[in-house]
């Protein structure tokens, strides 16, 4: 305990000396590592936190991480929150690719890829889904032909978020056409390579967070192969566990400042000390309780995973998170009534316009990162031990 108190004091002092007061409680709308480019105090803060390794507090010191224990990392989070500080560095690199590298990569690869992720210098995107390989991901066809010292990649990836701004891609590619699962390799490639073309996809929300990525004779050095050739499927799946774990750690995700209760007061009004619409009041209650139980479960799973590693049971959190988020978005626009259906125009405020877009965006929550149906199959098979999945 006294060690932790000493550490807490150390963190507090460090934050006083290094966190620019001008940034207090002003986290950037996007993080470094997710495509954001900073300047001024924000850039200073990114460099300082990245240099200290506290952007990835529990990663080993030898790769530039913080080297903290889970308890110390908790203290760091608490002190950052108390100081109004935040982590300006994130993205696929810190959430999924980095943890996977720590588990499976060679020493050389860890030293090459991890430090820029920790500093937020490099923005990674993930090349998994293909037009013909969605839920049945292992049927992917993008082919990395082995030419001795290098691979030559042809094919395409789809639903690649952030590809337009990304510096690098990690992904799974076919290296043997005669086998399904045993013919897949996990490969990294520079998005500036010749033959890489990115095309944004316009979604029902009118936004383009996703892209198609086309590969035409893209040359990739052999050293970019993670793990062994034709053994990438296991790595790819392992990474998805970190993705779901990431969701588990994001209990507050989607909980915007303008909440359902506030909206209900503004748009529906009160009848005495109760919301005027009893049916919506009940649904708001159910939504709040689901979110509360979700954060309790996410916290419990996170602490259990710290002892036992990521569990396949995490798949249920993904399903629950999708439902929670979608229900919340539906409820929000319903509370707003006719004002919750705005496409554009100055007649509507930012909340109204924003929630329509995020409502439409949320429809993807039960599809992306493993559809609900695939996740339920996984839980039925791997957690419940049912056959035939």
């Amino acid at each position: 305990m006294s060690d932790l108190s000493a550490f807490r004091a150390e963190v507090r002092t460090w934050l006083q000396e290094n966190f620019p007061p001008s940034l207090q409680n002003k986290p950037p709308s996007n993080q470094a590592g997710r495509g954001a480019k900073f300047e001024g105090d924000m850039e200073t803060w990114r460099l300082r936190l990245g240099e200290k390794g506290w952007s990835t507090p529990t990663w080993p010191v030898e790769y530039g991480g913080g080297g903290l224990s889970d308890k110390q990392a908790k203290v760091l989070r608490e002190e950052m929150r108390a100081a109004g500080a935040f982590n300006p560095i994130g993205g696929f690199g810190t959430a999924m690719f980095g943890p996977t590298l720590l588990d499976v990569a060679t020493e050389e690869q860890k030293k090459r890829y991890l430090p820029p992720i920790i500093r937020g210098d490099v923005h990674w995107c993930q090349g998994y889904s293909e037009p013909g390989a969605g839920s049945d991901l292992a049927s992917l066809q993008s082919f990395a032909e082995d030419r001795g010292d290098y691979f030559v990649i042809n094919g395409s990836k789809i639903w690649t978020s952030g590809a337009k701004e990304a510096d690098w891609m990690y992904g799974i590619f076919r290296t043997d056409k005669s086998k399904k699962y045993e013919g897949i390799s996990f490969i990294c490639l520079d998005m500036k390579s010749e033959g890489v073309e990115v095309k944004p996809i316009m979604l029902i929300s009118g936004q383009s967070p996703f892209n198609e990525v086309f590969f035409t004779d893209v040359v990739v050095p052999k050293e970019n192969l993670i793990g062994e050739k034709n053994k990438g499927w296991a790595i790819g799946k392992h990474l998805l566990l970190h993705e779901r774990q990431g969701i588990a750690g994001s209990g507050a995700m989607g909980a915007t400042a303008y909440g359902l209760v506030e909206a209900a007061r503004d748009y529906i009004g009160m009848n005495g000390d109760r919301l005027a619409d009893g049916a919506l009041r009940e649904r708001i209650a159910r939504q709040k309780m689901m979110a509360h139980a979700f954060s309790q479960t996410a916290r419990r799973f996170t602490s259990e995973a710290a002892v036992h590693g990521p569990s396949p049971a995490i798949g249920i959190l993904k399903v629950a998170w999708a439902k929670m988020n979608q229900d919340r978005e539906e409820l929000m626009i319903e509370i707003m009534g006719s004002r919750g259906l705005a496409w554009k125009g100055e007649e509507f405020n930012d909340e109204e316009l924003g929630h329509v877009r995020s409502w439409l965006r949320s429809k993807a929550n039960s599809i992306e990162g493993g559809s609900n149906e695939v996740n339920l199959n996984l839980v039925a098979k791997r957690v419940l031990g049912l056959k035939g999945y």
Binding site: V261, A264, R265, M270, D273, R274, L275, R281, E282, I284, A285, R286, K288, M289, M290, H292, A293, F294, Q296, T297, R299, R300, S303, E304, V307, A313, I316, V319, A320, E373, L376, N377, V379, A380, V383, L384, G385, L386, K387, G388, Y389
Partner: protein, 378 residues
């Protein structure tokens, strides 16, 4: 399940083995068939007391073992798995908590050692109507020269047949619906004017309606402060709600395990029925609901141990989450077992029936949903 301490693990194994050997659902069936007056077998209750469970929450100074609610939850989950019928929640949790939280030193010395030993079965008599609503307490307590005179009726009192210490919520001021003006009294179950009627409910446990006809209570048997009893009552109820939620989690977990086992053994169309997605996905969804319920139940139990300011919210959340899970699971246990699930010979009906009674006890989901969202100011 969150990581258990060594002590909790040992206790869990001990209770789990005892339930398997001595207090299984088969024993519950025997109890149902023999229909004892109290709604539980005295042998079962004696064993629970011998295991030290009746005094689990009671400090060592008063003859208990002074453990926390988290540990209690581990025990109650195991008892829930066996549908074990006993007054442990009513007496060892609710009764003990009432005396612990509201009692004077004399009252604690008088009652706690006997609750811990099982000699006294205590229970809280609060409901007066079909719907739980502690602030609507109307049972009249009128001032006499030395003490109070209780007049009125209580209904759906858990273990009301066995209880020899009744903790009665009564109105000493204000109107039904007011928080102010409620007082808790310790009433001897054998006192003149106390009349019990056994309620034969679907779970075959020992519920009773109790009529109080000019029952005399001395000043020494006022629990807490006159007119200020609502806060104490609510705290006591929350301990009961969290504990009952842990028992409900066990009932649901056992229903889940038995149903999953059936999905893995029952064959139709030449394959295990669990291989059909229509059933497998539902099983996975029940598993999800069970995990969420577990988190909320543990959250409430820990909230009590840590003295959380959000306790009312945490307990209502737990009762709702586990209520949802158990409602769906107990229904689907029958559906997934098909025709056999409808037979009395099979145990599924016991889970369904106990689930609904536990749901109605200390506030159902509708009550707790309303209580939860009221804390948000809407």
């Amino acid at each position: 399940m969150s990581v258990l301490t060594e002590e909790q693990t040992i206790l869990k194994d001990q209770v789990s083995n005892w339930v398997r050997d001595e207090a299984s659902v088969t024993r519950f069936r025997q109890m149902r068939d023999s229909n004892p007056d109290f709604g539980f077998e005295s042998g079962t209750w004696n064993s629970i007391c011998d295991l030290g469970l009746a005094g689990l929450l009671i400090p060592e100074a008063y003859g208990g073992s002074g453990m926390d609610f988290k540990t209690l939850g581990v025990v109650l989950e195991q008892l829930g798995r066996g549908l074990t019928a006993s007054p442990l929640v009513a007496s060892g949790v609710v009764g003990a908590s009432a005396v612990l939280l509201g009692g004077s030193e004399d009252q604690k010395r008088q009652w706690l050692p006997r609750i811990a030993s099982g000699e006294v079965v205590a229970t809280l008599a609060v409901d007066e109507k079909a719907r739980h609503g502690p602030e609507y307490t109307a049972l009249a307590a009128s001032r006499e020269e030395s003490g109070f005179l209780l007049k009125g009726g209580k209904c759906f009192v858990p273990e009301g047949m066995a209880a020899n210490l009744l903790i009665v919520a009564a109105r000493t001021g204000g109107q039904p619906g007011d928080h102010g003006g409620i007082t808790l009294f310790l009433v001897d179950g054998e006192a003149t004017g106390v009349e019990r009627t056994r309620l034969s409910l679907v779970d075959h446990r020992g519920h009773a309606d109790i009529e109080f006809s000019d029952v005399v209570v001395s000043d020494g048997n006022i629990l807490g402060t006159v007119d200020q009893g609502f806060e104490l009552l609510d705290k006591v109820l929350d301990r009961g709600r969290a504990a009952l939620s842990a028992e409900m989690l066990g009932i649901g977990a056992e229903a889940f395990d038995r149903t999953l086992e059936y999905l893995k053994t029952r064959e139709q169309f030449g394959q295990m029925i669990g291989s059909f997605q229509a059933l497998g996905h539902r099983a996975a969804t029940h598993f999800m609901d069970m995990e969420f319920a577990r988190s909320s139940v543990e959250g409430a139990l820990e909230g009590i141990d840590l003295g959380s300011e959000d306790l009312a919210k945490l307990c209502s959340l737990a009762k709702c989450q586990v209520g949802d899970f158990l409602y769906n699971m107990s229904n689907d246990m029958i559906q997934m077992h098909g025709g056999i699930g409808m037979t009395d010979e099979f145990d599924a009906g016991f889970f369904l029936k106990r689930a609904r009674v536990a749901e109605a006890t200390y506030g159902n989901r509708a009550f707790h949903l309303d209580r939860y969202i009221a804390t948000e100011g809407i």
